[in-house]
């Protein structure tokens, strides 16, 4: 099967699950930041934990090679700074890049506006990036994982993250139940 056909099919499944979860709705998404509706946290962390456990066990059983999966490279300063700017944009827009496409595809004009703004933001930043090339390329760590950073076995970090997520889910239910 062509790679692009597979890419489209994976995208369809991705968009379907985001819409089913309600993540095309900006008001639902920002509920996360006002502790009204913690759907973002619950969906995101159960997805991360599911994929993390799946990848870990499939590799442990010798079915896949974790080293063959593309791991985004780490650049400490730019990624932390990028995250901060991104987080502000997230609350202002009420949507993130992926969910803005879900919002746009399901009839929300604010989703279309977010997609447009995101496109212009990437375009403008790209055009001016050569001036900030030094910061953009600063603090490179290559493919760098939490087990390497904390000198812990991979399985231990997987277990710790799963436990933190379970604790987070319990806390999330308690916060929502209070309201």
């Amino acid at each position: 099967m062509s790679g692009l056909v597979l890419a489209t099919m994976i995208g369809v499944a991705f968009g379907w699950t985001l819409e089913r979860a309600g993540l095309g709705s900006a008001r639902k998404l920002v509920g996360q930041f006002y502790l009204r509706d913690l759907t973002v946290f619950k969906v995101m962390f159960s997805a991360i934990v599911t994929a993390m456990l799946g990848a870990f066990w499939l590799s442990r059983l010798g079915i896949i090679d974790l080293g063959q999966i593309y791991l985004p490279e780490t650049f400490i300063g730019p990624q932390l700074a990028g995250g901060l700017v991104f987080g502000i944009g997230f609350v202002v827009a009420g949507l993130c890049p992926g969910t803005s496409c879900v919002a746009a595809a399901t009839g929300r004009v604010d989703g279309v506006a977010t997609v447009f703004g995101m496109f212009m933001g990437v375009l403008a930043t790209g055009l001016f990036l050569p001036r900030f090339a030094a910061f953009y390329a600063s603090t490179p760590r290559g493919a760098f994982t939490l087990p390497e950073a904390f000198h812990l076995p991979y399985g231990t970090v997987v277990l710790l993250i799963a436990l933190v997520a379970l604790g987070g889910f319990t806390l999330a239910e308690r916060i929502e139940g209070r309201r």
Partner: protein, 174 residues
């Protein structure tokens, strides 16, 4: 006129999250890479810059990266994936009776203000995603599941900034 069907409620967030995690895992196993969104914007922007001014695109280290493969950024993996996202979202909403042309906004802002904020917020996310090399999909979900240090820093930064900014934007949402 056919009366509008009532929209079905959204799925349980944990089941939806597990389904999303399995989609991500399938992507790892079948294609050797995870999900993404902002990369498709970067690819498309590169194509636009190349179409308008090929020399500008070629001289820019950020855009030229996306044009290395014979200047066909429209044939990028993530562009097809994100097109699929829109199809999948539309299909899901259609079957659940949730398709509605609307401007979703807080009760105290006009549609115009909401659209300006949405555009501005999108712009800020574009800026952030370029420096972070990804967004909630490529960094938080994909890099998060693969235990990348940079991805977890991105998540911590984004949530910390989100919670810090939220009280100042209360008027826009509540």
């Amino acid at each position: 006129m056919i009366p509008a069907r009532a929209a079905r409620p959204y799925a349980n967030p944990y089941y939806a999250g597990i389904a999303l995690g399995l989609v991500l895992l399938a992507s790892f196993v079948l294609t050797g890479r995870g999900l993404g969104a902002s990369g498709a914007f970067a690819s498309t922007a590169s194509g636009v810059v190349h179409a308008v001014s090929p020399s500008t695109a070629a001289a820019n280290f950020y855009f030229s990266r996306y044009l290395a493969d014979g200047a066909r950024p429209w044939r990028d993996w993530l562009v097809f994936e994100l097109a699929g996202v829109m199809v999948g979202a539309w299909l899901s909403a259609r079957l659940a009776g949730r398709l509605r042309a609307t401007v979703e906004r807080g009760p105290r802002v006009t549609s115009l203000v909401r659209l300006v904020l949405a555009t501005a917020g999108g712009g800020a996310m574009g800026l952030g995603a370029v420096f972070a090399r990804g967004c909630t999909s490529g960094q938080a979900l994909t890099g998060g599941a693969l235990l990348s240090v940079g991805s977890w820093l991105f998540v911590l930064g984004a949530f910390a900034a989100g919670y810090t900014a939220a009280p100042f934007l209360r008027r826009a949402w509540q």
